[in-house]
């Protein structure tokens, strides 16, 4: 079955492009130490800085993508930023899904008061735009990459809780569950061995496709100064450093174009890849939508 889905992804031009983009980024993330040798072994995500001069420098042989203000190397930032993006995306999605799975399963399995309690709590978190809530939480925790991931996890889980709950409720009605119950399966065993394995799959797919969106939100937080700190190889942070230079020099408005276009283009391609891939999956999982 997985093989068939994979084949259909590759047959569609758009989702194939998405797959290629995501695969390329994954490759860059994996090969980061080779593509851009680490200069600070204690923290590879720390950007190398060639001097403290404020004015960004255009692409050259030494800095192929140019440098931002304070001479942070953009190439290093893009390469290690890719690795950080995957790290953030995967960590946040994993923990958010785990929390959603736990709460959603508990709500669906126990029902009644517990269900009501968990779902109303979910409503509360859902009631604020996720960027706004993440921003506020990150501010309270103190802005750094680690706390940003906590803030993103804290706002990402409710949709998975709803999803898992819905899936379990529908699987619970199926005949094979009644059959295993009739055979004497009870309690946690019924949930863990019979219901969960049969209901979790679609939610896992949906969750993993959210990585692009999570990374975008993370970049937004860093851009606002509430995520990764200056000097971190983080895409949002790189763009934040471009803000002072968008108006260019007195003679040429576009003098510092690379400070926006390089990190901006990378984020765009990353998110585009995940979106195209996601569209492909949705078409396959829900054939009614054309």
């Amino acid at each position: 079955m997985n093989n068939r889905i994979f084949k259909r992804i590759l047959q569609n031009k758009a989702s194939l492009a998405g797959f290629v983009l995501v695969a390329l980024f994954a490759l860059v993330a994996l090969l980061a130490p080779v593509l851009a040798p680490v200069h600070n072994p204690h923290d590879p995500y720390q950007l190398p800085q060639s001097s403290y001069s404020m004015t960004p420098q255009p692409p050259s042989a030494e800095h192929i993508f140019g440098t931002t203000e304070q001479q942070y190397d953009l190439y290093y930032g893009v390469v290690w930023g890719t690795r950080l993006a995957f790290k953030i995306g995967i960590t946040v999605t994993f923990f958010a899904f785990l929390i959603g799975l736990f709460l959603g399963a508990a709500a669906a399995y126990f029902g009644g008061m517990i269900d009501e309690l968990i779902m109303r709590f979910t409503d509360v978190v859902f009631a604020v735009p996720s960027l706004v809530l993440a921003m506020v939480i990150a501010a309270m925790l103190g802005p750094d990459t680690h706390n940003m991931m906590i803030a993103l996890t804290a706002v990402a889980w409710p949709s998975y809780a709803r999803l898992v709950r819905g899936d379990i409720l529908s699987v619970k009605q199926r005949d094979f569950v009644t059959a295993s119950r009739a055979l004497g399966a009870r309690g946690p065993r019924l949930l863990l061995k019979h219901i969960l394995p049969n209901s979790i799959y679609p939610s896992v797919v949906v969750a993993s496709l959210d990585i692009g969106y999570i990374v975008l939100t993370a970049a937004s937080l860093s851009f606002l100064g509430l995520g990764a700190q200056p000097g971190t190889a983080d895409w949002g942070q790189l763009i934040a450093m471009a803000r002072n230079w968008v108006l260019g020099s007195s003679t040429n408005t576009f003098a510092y174009w690379y400070t926006v276009v390089v990190p901006g283009g990378v984020i765009f391609l990353f998110v585009l890849g995940w979106n195209l891939l996601g569209d492909g999956f949705r078409d396959i999982l829900d054939p009614r939508q054309g």
Binding site: V132, M135, I137, M140, G264, N275, L276, Q289
Partner: protein, 342 residues
């Protein structure tokens, strides 16, 4: 219907309480000394730290402190915002209209261009217009608004000088704060017209163009998609064939017959998107230095202005719940087949 609305409105205090309590609980992670130091502007007064902690009861348990905040909030006193240099309630009153104005102008752009592109894309299916519209839609959905915002700023302000950042120019600032200018609604676009001052109107509109264009991109992309697929579905139906068979001109078939039915899902989507825009304003207002509630929220968060953060979150949560409710109600108004709460 009425019961449904009432039930949803009951959710409002629950959400407001939940959100504010959760955030308040988070503020307790900061030590009383840290929270007290936020009240002190002059470093020489740091000796008064203990006094401030005592005065505001910052060592009390979280429920007691929250109760104090809540009773103040119920009386309309949300505390003093250090980042905005005014009471939080006043800051909200001052900044909110600008944001709503921005979101409304954006929504008009989104619906107008979204429907237009969507219809063209469906009518010219698989021709170059369709492919172009779909590319713009896929691209627009993936382009982060802070990247687009900076690029637009570079081109239209840096290069061409057409649309400056900020909410209005200095001369407008002077005009609207002069005694001869009456503030009727707080919405500058409306107030300037009521005052018969076209200069202010044009100036405010000019400052709205870039933020609105930036903000509309994501919703616009979605709108094109939905309008396209909805229109394609309608164009395949029998009544369209009938209309064509009786010799109606093509534009009448497209706009008066198919278009009217195809627009239903777009209207619901518009309601939901309007709410989403309020989230996006946080970034757009920061980039363009637009004096709205989003910029206020970001500044409060950056400067750890707790009263400001609490007030901002409370307001966003309330707006969100009300907006969602409104879009649900709008849905039934457009499509009578849908009954709420059954």
């Amino acid at each position: 219907m009425l019961r449904y609305i009432l039930r949803r409105l009951l959710l409002l205090p629950l959400v407001a309480l939940g959100v504010t309590f959760l955030l308040f609980f988070l503020t307790q992670r900061l030590s009383p000394e840290m929270r007290a130091s936020l009240y002190i502007k002059d470093p020489r007064q740091m000796g008064a730290l203990e006094e401030v902690i005592e005065k505001y009861g910052l060592r009390d348990n979280v429920f007691k402190q929250y109760g104090r905040w809540l009773s103040g909030a119920l009386r309309g006193d949300l505390g003093y915002s250090q980042s905005a240099n005014m009471p939080v309630a006043q800051a909200i009153k001052e900044y909110l209209p600008a944001t709503v104005q921005l979101a409304l102008v954006t929504m008009v752009l989104v619906v107008f261009f979204g429907v237009w592109f969507g219809v063209v894309s469906a009518v010219k299916k698989d021709k170059w217009q369709d492919i172009a519209a779909r590319l713009v839609s896929v691209g627009g959905f993936s382009l982060p608004i802070f990247v687009l915002g900076l690029l637009l700023l570079m081109l239209f302000y840096g290069k061409l000088g057409w649309f400056p950042p900020g909410g209005f120019s200095i001369s407008t600032d002077v005009t609207i704060h002069s005694p001869s200018f009456h503030s009727y609604t707080g919405f500058l676009l409306i107030d300037s017209l009521l005052n018969g001052n076209l200069k202010v109107f044009c100036d405010v509109l000019r400052h709205l163009v870039l933020p609105a264009l930036t903000l509309c991109i994501g919703s616009f992309a979605l709108m094109v998609r939905v309008m396209r697929s909805s229109m394609l579905e309608e164009l395949g139906k029998d009544y369209v064939r009938t209309a064509r068979a009786k010799g109606l001109p093509e534009h009448a078939v497209i706009y008066r017959h198919a278009g009217k039915n195809a627009i239903i899902p777009v209207i619901t989507l518009a309601g939901i998107q309007f709410i989403r825009l309020l989230g996006g304003t946080v970034i757009v207002e920061t980039i363009f230095d637009y004096p709205g509630i989003g910029r206020f929220g970001v500044m409060a968060a950056q400067q750890l202005d707790i009263a400001g953060i609490m007030g901002f979150s409370l307001m966003v949560a309330v707006l969100f719940v009300l907006g969602n409710l409104l879009s649900d109600v709008l849905y039934t108004a457009v499509d009578p087949r849908i009954k709420l709460g059954e």
